[in-house]
Symmetry: C2
Subunit: 142 residues, 2 copies
Amino acid sequence: MNDPLTSLPGYVLRRASAATLAELNQRLAPLDLRHSDIAFLFLIDATPGITQSEVGRLLDIQRANTVAFVARLEARHLIERTRVDGRSQALHLTPDGESLVGKARAIIETHETELLNRVPTEWRPMVLPILLALWNRPASAG
Amino acid sequence: MNDPLTSLPGYVLRRASAATLAELNQRLAPLDLRHSDIAFLFLIDATPGITQSEVGRLLDIQRANTVAFVARLEARHLIERTRVDGRSQALHLTPDGESLVGKARAIIETHETELLNRVPTEWRPMVLPILLALWNRPASAG
DNA sequence: TATTGTTATACTCTATAACTATA
DNA sequence: TATAGTTATAGAGTATAACAATA
């Protein structure tokens, strides 16, 4: 029985994503974090004071769905929010948050290295460019 | 503001997968199908008489979660099931199912071609091997 | 004992509509 | 008028535990 799916890049892209995300979630479980939390925290760490809606746009998370993230991370004292004007709120890591991000960063680096190492050496430089090309995100005015 | 995520293959893998799945679901919407339905139907089409649990194993869908697929596809008269022994049931496409799979196949081909075309010509041969390597699925006893 | 199909259940992620208060 | 944060809600997708019937 030869399945007709593993020759389809789109299908294999999905399976590869699902499998590696499950692995990452397992690696992050000791920190009681999930992959989506990490993306959130990394972004705040890289751009302290970033607003909630900016994070949502960068991560392609609907505005409404960022609320639960912020509430949960704040309840864990990993981030804090400060009103920047009547509408927006700026997000910062707390010391606890910075500490946790440090631990997470080590896990992520191990994870990403392990992923890349699955690819034959000579193809590794193509991995990120190919994935970015497949992503095909609209040019950001970053 | 430069985000720290788009240099991580694992993260870009996830975003590429999510974005292309959303596109595929849009393309399949006229057939009232989702990407997961297509995988299910393609597998039955490729291996008539395949059992429900075999499909689940190949698609990495928990046995419990295949029940809803089979029920829904059968309710739409796209597949039928026949008892093969007291436990297993063999799945086949109905004529309606075969017709729909034909239409879906054309959409998938367009979709997959469009995905590949996002990658510079000289890298295209590496796309599938790289994705399979990242997937890193345990060697299947096919 | 192990497997198949099944029910029930829960959690994550995503998507939309609508509301408020601000700009 | 448009934007930021919020609430409520719904739909996918995924995961686990447990059960009956069968191999």
